[in-house]
């Protein structure tokens, strides 16, 4: 899905010179990013590069150390808590650990935002849950509890809950982490369906190469405390930048200590 022209209404998320991190230590800084309606953008990078922290910042969970984040046309961190909550109702979030409530059934979990935030009649709520669960391939699991479901099923249920209010933008943190390739591919297919049929914009944090290649309209790669590369997956794969090339071609970075060093060190110690 190519986006040729952008109007301000098409831009759902804008980050301007954003720094994120913990306490005063920035993990990422100078991040400039725009996400437009109807695209799937993947945020990539190695472990600890700050992509999940960035996601926390753009979902209102952690204020950036510096810069501005505009979500759906509003400066998120300039809003008071109530206004921010209202804004975030137009978004959905699927967490890495699924974050389903263990004491509620799947249909109660998925219907929770509807029951808490709308005044829809109960039959409509149940029908919406049924439609969303069918969409993610979980028909018949309505009355099951999350701990009795597999990892992939729980992630699908989390996606159904994230999308139940028909958000304009859905954020997913490592949706395919810990899943086998077939289940992960099914989840990728569901994400593409959300984009193509419902027109939902999706931001996915991941480092699964297969997923990145399947779902990304654009990919943003973080590394070295900044955005290292941005563009289509084909562009990134063809990049001459060593770190970007290594990421896509699974080349392990050289580490200071390697297997076998220990024997050498012991040898030096004995002979010293």
């Amino acid at each position: 899905m190519k986006v040729e022209t952008r109007t301000s209404a098409d831009v759902l998320l804008t980050c301007r010179d954003v720094s994120v991190g913990y306490e005063d230590k920035a993990i990422l800084s100078g991040v400039d990013l725009e996400i437009v309606r109807g695209e799937i953008v993947t945020l990539l990078g190695g472990s600890g590069c700050g992509k999940s922290t960035m996601l926390r910042a753009i979902t209102g969970l952690q204020a950036p150390l510096a810069g501005h984040i505009e979500l759906l046309g509003q400066d998120m961190y300039a809003l008071d808590n109530e206004a921010r909550r209202v804004l975030l109702r137009r978004t959905g979030m699927a967490f890495q650990q699924d974050a389903l409530f263990g004491s509620l059934t799947i249909q109660e979990n998925v219907g929770l935002p509807l029951r808490e935030l709308t005044k829809l009649p109960e039959p409509v709520i149940r029908e919406m849950i049924r439609i969303k669960l069918a969409l993610v391939g979980l028909s018949g699991f309505e009355k099951r509890y999350p701990p009795t479901l597999s990892g992939g099923q729980r992630k699908r249920a989390a996606l159904a809950r994230a999308s139940i209010l028909d958000p304009e933008i859905i954020f997913c943190d490592e949706p395919s982490a810990g899943l086998d390739p077939i289940v992960a591919a099914g989840l990728d297919e569901t994400l593409c369906q959300f984009r193509d049929v419902l027109g939902v914009t999706i931001v996915v944090v991941t480092h699964e190469l297969d997923s990145i290649r399947t779902i990304s309209d654009r990919a943003v790669m973080f590394g070295g405390g900044k955005i290292m590369a941005m563009g289509s997956v084909a562009d990134l794969e063809a990049s001459t930048d060593e770190a970007v090339y290594n990421f896509f071609h699974r080349v392990a970075a050289e580490r200071p200590g390697r297997a076998g060093d220990g024997v050498d060190r012991l040898h030096h110690a004995r002979t010293a």
Binding site: L120, R130, I131, G140, K143, T148, D166
Partner: protein, 373 residues
């Protein structure tokens, strides 16, 4: 502007519902009410849903269309959708075709079935508890005969957590209990000129009853609940299963150190509580009755027998086992969801306190009847 407007053709008995504007979360309730009204009309044979002027249809709109289709089917009415735009068709394609609608009613078992289910639950719990007792006995034997050993440092850790950290609260409450008993006793006994006997009363009460029982109740809330919460969380996180698959007995690794620590800590804290309670009474007697502390202590020593002391210490040991076994049993039986840990913790406190009081009452009855047959 209403989200839907209906016209009725009497000749063909067809109701045409014209959808206007977006059907979304804000208008779905009104749309549902409208469609339900149409479905209930007996003069309508067929319903046409016209999307010519419809805007965006979101999931809630889809749900209403899906429900309307079912309502019309149940009422024997034909149902057609006309003037669908491309986006409407794409949205309607999301409707599940073969998914079965979820039944509205939940499964409510009848009274007899509920009684039967509770009996089976208690039977299961009883069997599991006996199995736990037997396993604890077996593991204790292995440890005593040095075939196996406790995890390094586990016993001292538990003694520190359960005992040393509880010294302050148990001591303070013991002291306050002694002072309260003294005030009550002095008011009553002074009327008969028998104020000096407050020492006997406090000594017997603290050594035989209040020392062990108050300590047990504090430890139930503090330690029993902690054991249940800790083991329950471990169960939820599959840590108990991990031990089993490693070939390590969860009873020996987790339960035995806690139970042994409680068996040491509970009598020790009870003893401290007894002395501090007597000390509190001694202070109040000295201040209110001007009873010299040495006279107070002489009466205590003369009145309390070794049997009274054994009675109190024996009970405190039994209370320790009640707390330890209840917390472990209920914690290990927590099911794999977050509320079960809270439920196990609460039940541990309630069940432990219940059995502590039952055992106390039984012991008091037996010892009284035994002393005065």
């Amino acid at each position: 502007m209403p989200v839907a407007h209906t016209t009725f053709d009497r000749k063909t008995r067809t109701a045409t519902v014209r959808v206007a504007g977006d059907v979304s979360l804000t208008t779905a309730k009104e749309f549902y009410g409208h469609m339900r009204g149409v479905a209930r009309r007996r003069d309508v044979r067929s319903v046409v849903l016209d999307f010519e002027k419809a805007g965006r249809v979101d999931s809630s709109g889809l749900a209403v269309v899906s429900l309307a289709a079912r309502m019309m089917e149940r009422g024997g009415k034909a149902f057609d959708l006309v003037h669908l735009g491309e986006t409407h068709r794409a949205a309607l394609d999301l409707l599940p075709r073969d998914a079965v609608a979820v039944a509205d009613e939940t499964d409510h078992p009848g009274f007899v079935r509920r009684v039967g289910m509770s009996i089976l639950d208690y039977q299961d719990a009883g069997a599991a508890f006996l199995a736990l007792l037997a396993d604890t006995g077996r593991q204790l034997l292995y440890v005593i005969t040095r075939k196996k050993r406790l995890p390094v440092g586990a016993l001292t850790d538990q003694i520190e957590k359960m005992g040393v950290d509880a010294v302050g609260i148990v001591g303070l409450l013991g002291l306050l209990l002694g002072t309260t008993l003294a005030f009550q006793g002095i008011v009553l006994l002074q009327r008969f000129g028998a104020g000096v006997f407050v020492a006997d009363m406090i000594g017997i009460s603290m050594v035989r009853e209040f020392g062990p029982m108050m300590t047990a109740i504090i430890l139930t809330g503090r330690t029993g609940a902690a054991i249940a919460a800790e083991l329950g969380t471990m169960k939820v996180r599959d840590e108990l299963d991990a031990l089993t698959t490693m070939g390590v007995s969860p009873t020996r690794f987790l339960l035995l150190p806690r139970l042994l620590a409680l068996s040491i800590v509970q009598p020790a804290l009870s003893l401290m509580s007894m002395f501090l309670g007597i000390g509190g009474g001694m202070i109040i007697a000295a201040l209110v009755l001007h009873l010299p502390p040495d006279l107070f202590w002489d009466r205590i020593v003369a009145r309390i027998t070794f049997g009274d002391f054994l009675h109190g210490m024996g009970k405190s040991l039994i209370f320790a086992w009640i707390i330890g076994f209840t917390g472990s049993h209920l914690g290990m039986r927590a099911s794999a969801n977050s509320t079960s840990v809270g439920a196990a913790t609460t039940r541990t406190v309630v069940v432990s306190v219940f059995f502590i009081i039952v055992v106390d009452a039984v012991a008091a009855t037996i010892s009284t009847i035994g002393a005065h047959p």
